[in-house]
Amino acid sequence: MAELLDAVTSWRSLLLVLVVFGFAPGCCLRLIVLAYPRGDPRRAELIAELYVVPRIQRPLWVAEQLEVALFEGLAHRASAALHRLTGRRRAHTRSGHRSKSALRRALGVVGGLGVLDAVVVVVAVGAVGGMIGEWVGVGAEVGSEVVTMVMLVVMLVAVFGDMLGDMRDKARFRRGKPDRSGSQTGMPRSEADDPDGPGRGPDL
């Protein structure tokens, strides 16, 4: 604990914080807003607002946006992922096409997650794996590694499975056959089912 406190209060940490938030607030903010789903107008809004914040207040303001992004952005991502799941389910029901298994649909959702979602999922799964490892008795590290590995494999399968599915749907769409995914608009599945829709603001 004392070592942790020393590390936090050391002059190196202070210097790092000053450099990161003081000299590169724009860069930090651009990273922070990645917590919002792609196309969310808040991304462009926060970056534009940075230019009207007085220079002296920028580091603190940027640090404050981390809180906004974590609570608002990640919540949006979670709800978007949920929406994607229920949306796809609804689309399948509408078209009367139910041949895809529940596993394939669940994998489709995992495959449709963004990079940040994936990082959050991997970290969370690692933590859970650590706890399971401790509980089973093989140690937190082994548990975390095994569970994370399994999760990564599942995600890779999901991503490639989703990509292959999209490619197949697009090929079918080009040939003029009706889209199996149930899209009413005739758009490829990935666009038609995107709950975020096109961004209202300038996209980043």
Binding site: E45, L46, A48, E49, Y51, E64, P202
Partner: protein
């Protein structure tokens, strides 16, 4: 929307100039509500239809910066937020804010 101190402060800032455009940072400064609370509140107001949003026209910008997002009160928002202020006027927990009421 739950009537909180932050909502009352934002309502006061918005109704201070009910017909003009409001910007996130400016609104945060005038209301005294930090952005961690303000932006989620603005999102809820957009969902409720109390405010509308838009983007600055990039061709009218003099400085070299991206266009900003603005918020404008709708008629529904003016009524709703006016009602919030009316109620807040009689509540003891907002007593120290009364001096700022129009």
């Amino acid at each position: 929307m739950r009537k909180t101190r932050a909502l009352v402060q934002v309502a006061m800032a918005l109704l201070d100039d009910p017909t003009s455009r409001h910007w996130g940072y400016e609104l945060s400064q005038r209301s005294g509500v930090r952005s961690g609370v303000l932006y989620p509140m603005l999102t809820r107001m957009l969902d409720e239809g109390w405010v509308t949003d838009g983007w600055e026209d990039p061709t009218t910008l003099r400085e070299k910066r991206p266009p900003r997002r603005y918020y404008e009160l709708t008629d529904e928002g003016r009524l709703a937020l006016g009602g919030v202020l009316q109620q807040a006027r009689h509540e003891a927990r907002f007593a120290d804010l009364r001096w700022r009421f129009a």
